[in-house]
Subunit: 134 residues, 4 copies
């Protein structure tokens, strides 16, 4: 299992007039969680693209328990529970500084070959890095 923890400071731009972080902004937070989880594997998503692999999202689910507020430093726990094949699944839990669960969700992505946009299996070099954690 791969677990990464990321701290994110809420920007003013991310609040809405309800005074909460806008519900659509968590997609960006989750993206940061994914990128940092991959970096922990010794991989940057940037390199993935440079090596010709795109990773578009095919499914995204989120349940909101409590709002996040401006200037809070929230903690995002990102987990990869299974070795990826055609898809890679990231699980996310977002907490505030008091340890309260703010939201939980998952994001499923596929691997596409950049030049023809066709789905492929997770590349071998990527799986090698993953397998060290399972």
């Amino acid at each position: 299992m791969i677990i990464a923890e990321t701290k994110i400071r809420v920007r003013y731009a991310e609040t809405d007039q309800m005074g909460f972080v806008y519900y659509g902004r968590y997609a960006e937070y989750y993206e940061i969680g994914r990128v940092e989880a991959m970096r922990k594997l010794g991989l940057s998503y940037k390199e993935m693209e440079e090596k010709g692999i795109l990773m578009p999202v095919v499914e995204y689910h989120i349940e909101y328990k409590k709002p996040a507020y401006y200037d809070e430093e929230i903690i995002l726990i990102t987990t990869i529970k299974e070795i990826p094949k055609l898809k890679i699944n990231f699980h996310h839990e977002c907490y505030n500084a008091n340890g309260e669960l703010l939201n939980t969700g998952y994001v499923k992505l596929v691997f596409l070959r950049k030049e023809n946009k066709k789905p492929v299996l997770a590349p071998d070099w990527f799986l090698q890095e993953c397998k060290r954690y399972f």
Copy 2:
């Protein structure tokens, strides 16, 4: 059943370096769909807030079939299938101009009293408007 159709032109800001609309931006599109579905009921979400009711999202799910591209005019179909009680559920389908399904999802929202942020049932005047469609 309440069905609303909304057209949305993709902004440059909404694309990412993959050349697709960023996966997190559909939350904004779905929000537009909800607002226009409510407007069709003779209600503006703005008025809801002015009458002291906030409607935060508690659950959001989306499955991406095909990407949307810059400058496309996409068609969003928003449906309310049941009369709301503690929650209101919106179903969304997003198509491009060729009639291809781009993504499908749902959003669940609750009703909160603005002054104390406590959950309440859908207000009566709101239900009256809804019931005309069921």
Copy 3:
């Protein structure tokens, strides 16, 4: 002179906890104004890119007079006052439904050849379209 008028409905996502449209969001509105001004010339910015010309922004200035609010339909007046050469300058004025000036600004863009990212003069076919208005 080329003048285009565009109506934009303020999205909830665009507000911040001050209850106003976030100051950074007007860049997206101005982008819409530019795109619609170009469409009026019979040109889409999308085609520009397809023809190998990118148009990145090199300067952006905005003065805020009054805030815009959620769900307002604001009117954006976009003007091209001079025939473009190395740069194209767009002037923007943003009004609310009561005709009050909300903000005013300008955006300067250059023309880049896509394959080498080098600056070029405005393409001839683009200038031909422009000249019909001057």
Copy 4:
């Protein structure tokens, strides 16, 4: 003079299909720079609002020299050069990891009393903190 340095990692969401950070996103980066410059003064912008002072932006100017790219860690230098009165002016310089200047700009904000949205002078307790640096 007050100078603060902030590092910001570029998010995928912040890129556009040109492959650069979208020109409108720097408003968020500059906002982070302002907030961190104020935090250095021992003040949080959050507290400002809690003490009844809003600080909307009245003018924003930016000149783009070079693009920023996905996953780069950019360095933002934020400077307050004069003691604020009716307005507070922030100057910003944004660099990449190679020390190349990406963009430069300024943002002017006013102080509003929250309850009536009327402009006021910079509050005394705020000026006291500022004066230690001049």
